[in-house]
């Protein structure tokens, strides 16, 4: 396991005003006993609503925050105690915290980072060349970072995080605020990095397309606790999201029961019926339908991940 966490917890003391001068202390657990085991080469989506504890977890795994309790190991190292050694072996993109020099051209940040991470010149050049090709950095490499668009800057940040050849890449909302094209570029780039088997990737996101395109495994966190750890399909299975057949009929729905399917709605004066697949295949249900009623039109709808996640978040 390249990343391991057991019972990881982070408490914050919050002072709330009571009355005029008095303040009451409250302890809030931003992360409340998280267990994680992530293998080398995995690409994992770490998701949850705002304030669920995603960023706090990443900050504990990268050595920025000291855990209140529990144990974390990344690349076999203890993040806070061995922060400097670990920093050489991980790459981090925290959307709001730039690693770039604001007033200098992007290219200068890259060469500074080469000195900071003590990367051999040849390795650095090779990685930079690859990132330049994949992310189209040429156009703006000589532009001061403060003049870059958000999408350009994010491409710069991703490159900065990869130039030292990290074993693990932590990305905190890498696509937040980007336009469609930039999002796509970032996703394709990450997929490519993952396919090349260079780094284990952990990313937090609110963008469900990121998850569908990139993440084989999802860890969903809410109120500081892990509420789901598994594949997207497992998430659907567990929270009862099913594929649905929508059939438009030439006559009113006669109110049949079909084996392995469940009628979830009858609409349009009985001329449209929705059936959730409950064990049967789409083919079986369609065949049974075609025998029983005059079919006009038919579509199969995949479950919406938004719905599943929204339902997950609402469970308190």
């Amino acid at each position: 396991m390249i990343i391991e966490a057991t019972g990881l917890r982070k408490d914050f003391t919050v002072r709330r005003k009571v009355g005029r001068f008095r303040r009451e202390k409250h302890v809030v657990s931003a992360v409340d006993g998280v267990d994680l085991a992530i293998g080398r080469g995995e690409i994992l989506g770490y998701i949850g609503p705002n304030g669920a504890g995603k960023s706090t977890t990443l900050k504990m795994l990268t050595g920025v925050l000291t855990p209140s309790a529990g144990r974390a190991r990344v690349c076999g190292l203890e993040p806070v105690a061995q922060r400097v050694t670990l920093a050489r072996r991980i790459g981090v993109v925290f959307g709001q915290r730039s690693q770039l020099w604001w007033d200098l051209p992007l290219a200068e940040s890259f060469s500074l980072l080469r000195h900071i991470y003590k990367v051999p010149a040849a390795d650095h050049a090779a990685r930079l060349k690859r990132c330049t090709a994949l992310l189209g950095l040429d156009e703006f490499a000589q532009t001061p970072v403060r003049q870059l668009s958000l999408g350009q800057r994010m491409r710069g940040e991703l490159t900065a995080a990869l130039l030292h050849g990290p074993e693990v890449l932590f990305l905190d909302e890498p696509t937040i605020g980007l336009d469609v094209l930039s999002k796509q570029a970032v996703r394709e780039f990450l997929a490519e990095v993952h396919a090349a088997g260079e780094a284990t990737i952990v990313l937090t996101t609110h963008d469900l397309a990121d998850i569908e395109k990139l993440c084989r495994r999802l860890v969903v966190i809410d109120h500081g606790r892990v509420v789901h750890d598994g594949s997207l399909d497992e998430l659907h299975a567990r929270y009862g999201s099913r594929r649905e057949i929508v059939a438009d009929l030439d006559a009113a729905w006669p109110g049949l029961t079909l084996p392995g399917a469940q009628v979830t709605a009858v609409e349009n004066d009985g001329r449209r019926v929705r059936l959730a697949l409950d064990g049967a295949t789409a083919g079986e249900v369609v065949a049974a339908l075609a025998q029983a009623v005059p079919l006009r039109d038919l579509s199969v709808q995949e479950p919406e991940i938004e719905d599943v996640i929204a339902r997950l978040y609402r469970r308190d």
């Binding site: 914050f12 304030g51 960023s55 706090t56 900050k59 990268t62 050595g63 920025v64 925050l65 000291t66 806070v80 922060r83 400097v84 050694t85 920093a87 050489r88 981090v92 925290f94 959307g95 709001q96 915290r97 730039s98 690693q99 020099w101 604001w102 007033d103 200098l104 200068e108 500074l112 000195h115 900071i116 991470y117 003590k118 001061p144 905190d172 909302e173």
Partner: protein, 267 residues
């Protein structure tokens, strides 16, 4: 210290960043040169008018003022940027420093390096050089060494104060200007002979509790070969390196604890 080259790269990048704004950089530089020149003029005027302070003659007072000014200027140039920590802790920008494979403290100093502060060092050197020239010093090897080392030990002590003052931000983000009472206050305190403050509690606390007596006053007594009117033992005058070391231990210990209390910010 093996990383010194890396920090120099960061400092150079910082200077390049500042020179991006040419006009602002030029005005900054001109203003600080002017202020330095005026400061030196003020010192001259003061010492040509007043005969002396706290039982010390003009040349001795100038020597003490020069030692204090040079020590403070070096500390300000190297460690003064530590005060930016408060801002970085509040904004969460400190994260970025913790994510790099370098000492966070050294980065804090290098990343915020302000070239204009170096001008003050030159000013300090002028005043200190003048003090050494006009004071009646019976030179021997030990005194030469003391004259060279004292501005550095003083700078280390002020530097530790800068760091301790900044570190408070890990617990108390709204610490505001409290730390300045000790750093800038310390500069003013150490500029004059200790005898001026009398033997009250605060005088003693600042002089020996915090160690300000070791920045300029006690080493100056050793240079001048004068007894202390307040009866401080002679051997203490040579102890500035020791007090500087204690300050370094205290500052690094506090920093280590403080960094574990860093809370970052939500993002």
């Amino acid at each position: 210290m093996a990383d010194l080259g890396v920090y120099l790269h960061i400092v150079r990048a910082q200077i390049r960043s500042q020179t991006q704004y040419r006009m602002s950089f030029a005005i900054d530089l001109a203003a600080s040169t002017l202020i330095s020149a005026l400061d030196i003029a003020t010192v001259f005027v003061l010492f040509s008018v007043s005969g002396g302070l706290g039982g010390f003659g003009g040349p001795a007072v100038l020597l003490i003022a020069g030692l204090s000014a040079l020590a403070f200027a070096i500390a300000d140039a190297v460690f003064g940027n530590a005060e930016r920590l408060r801002e970085l802790v509040r904004s969460g920008g400190f994260d970025a420093l913790l994510l790099r494979p370098l000492s966070a403290l050294a980065q804090l100093l290098a990343v915020n390096f302000a070239p204009r502060r170096v001008g003050r060092v030159v000013q300090g050197m002028v005043v200190y050089g003048l003090g050494l020239a006009v004071a009646d010093i019976d030179w021997n090897p030990a005194r030469v060494l003391l004259a060279v080392v004292t501005p550095l030990t003083g700078a280390v002590m002020f530097g530790c104060l800068f760091i301790i003052g900044a570190t408070v931000a890990f617990w108390w983000v709204e610490s505001g200007e409290v730390a300045n009472a000790f750093t800038y206050g310390g500069r003013d305190f150490t500029s004059y002979p200790l005898t001026m403050y009398g033997g009250g509690f605060f005088g003693r606390f600042f002089a020996f509790g915090i160690g300000f007596a070791f920045v300029a006053y006690l080493p100056a007594l050793a240079l001048l070969d004068r007894p202390d009117p307040m009866g401080v033992p002679d051997w203490l005058r040579w102890c500035s390196p020791l007090t500087a070391m204690i300050a370094v231990l205290a500052a690094t210990a506090l920093w280590r604890v403080g960094i574990r209390h860093y809370r970052s910010t939500g993002s």
